[in-house]
Symmetry: C2
Subunit: 258 residues, 2 copies
């Protein structure tokens, strides 16, 4: 089944009904996809500031009103409790559960943060003949540090895409337009330069081998808050399963910078 060209609303319905159960890299590619971070109100200010200070890793598309699971500005018919194919439940910095909806975990003092996902520029990479991803890219914890905000600190997590060497410049140009979903790369080239010791063992996602005429390009990734959670240990934090994103109603082409 080809879900690339369906609407965001249709995609969310298929997720909710348990028909789409895996990653969303090739789903409803016209729309902005987002990572999810759910925190209780007492940590919301620090996290909002963390996003402001680290816009490459955490470009915030929307924060819901306190207590509301509905992203009423971008996606009024969406519900972040049910519309992602997979979630992770973190207690005191430990991953304690993986679920396919968070209705039973949602509380009245929670805020949902929707952070732009690089899946949003997949279609543009494809139309530019740069690459076509059919599964979640390799995702690594780097040694580049975020700027601390309140209690939140930790390393930037980066997604990697393997690109032909003669496409590097175009890949930088294309993704720069998408500054609301990570924008220009964090790094081009040697994974060691950003603290990735073994490129064959990604921390999340799937390993994609690097050919002779290819080079890896790394983009700051919205999985960053999951690496941060391990350091900060909030009493409770809910995130998406890496690669299993929330699909907003925003048409990607409408939030490019140029």
């Amino acid at each position: 089944m080809d879900y690339e060209n369906i609407s965001a609303e249709e995609a969310r319905r298929l997720v909710r009904e348990g028909i789409i159960t895996g990653d969303t890299v090739a789903v409803a590619k016209k729309y902005v996809q987002t990572n999810l971070v759910v925190l209780k109100k007492n940590l919301a200010y620090d996290f909002l500031l963390f996003c402001q200070r680290n816009p490459h890793a955490c470009p915030l598309i929307e924060a819901t009103d306190i207590g509301s699971p509905i992203p009423r500005i971008s996606t009024p018919t969406g519900d972040i409790r049910t519309d992602l194919p997979g979630y992770r439940i973190w207690r005191n910095g430990e991953l304690v559960d993986k679920v396919d909806n968070i209705t039973k975990y949602w509380q009245d003092d929670m805020v949902a943060f929707l952070i732009g996902c690089s899946f949003t520029f997949e279609r543009s990479l494809e139309m530019n003949g740069i690459l076509m991803n059919k599964s979640t890219p390799s995702i690594y914890i780097t040694n580049v540090q975020c700027i601390k905000a309140g209690v939140f600190e930790g390393p930037i997590v980066a997604s990697s895409r393997i690109i032909k060497k003669n496409k590097v410049v175009r890949a930088v140009q294309v993704t720069t337009r998408y500054n609301a979903t990570h924008g220009a790369p964090l790094h081009v080239g040697d994974p060691n330069d950003i603290g990735i010791a073994d490129v064959t063992k990604p921390d999340f996602g799937n390993y994609h081998p690097i050919g002779e005429d290819e080079v890896p390009i790394f983009w700051a990734c919205g999985v960053t808050p999951q690496a941060v959670a391990i350091k900060v240990k909030p009493e409770i934090m809910i995130t998406h399963e890496p690669g299993y994103m929330f699909i907003t109603d925003i048409v990607a082409e409408q939030i490019t910078i140029l």
Copy 2:
């Protein structure tokens, strides 16, 4: 005295010593200038969210750590209590004082929000032969509404620049690059379209007449929080005097999107 080419640090020193006492439109033009909003911690979350939801009016360059008047990320040698040429003190939505430093008003639970100012793209407008402002532009309260966030709501305030008709396209291109300091215009053309009844009577700044071959272009403006304050009536709020900005150490060319 020509202050256009001095450093940001020198400009802040001259302000602090009472040598620069007026608007900063032609001061240290290489650097990012910002509007100021100071609020107590209890309103900081709502205001931070207001900035996130209204990035054209309130593009946030930095929010200081709670209790700190030092923008340690962008401008570690700056102090927002003394480094602006003029401030406004608001109590319960009323303008109660105008001062040239806020040392006596600063409290340990305050946060300073630095919001990008369109003065930052003045040099680029000038180098493109579009216009050269020697005084604060006209600033108007429009009828375009901000997206509400918590208690904060109100109209967008816009600065206006009078441009030759054959320069409109270039003005849009040039300012789009400066998305961290309001970016592309809010409106081009008839002031009535955005609720400005009498263009000769700006709410802030100076009136600049419109010639036969000219058209006004409007940019969302960091004075917006002052119009919002009148509606929200925080117990205390401190802002800059319109046109009297904080000059950061950030080189403007380094935060353009492209």
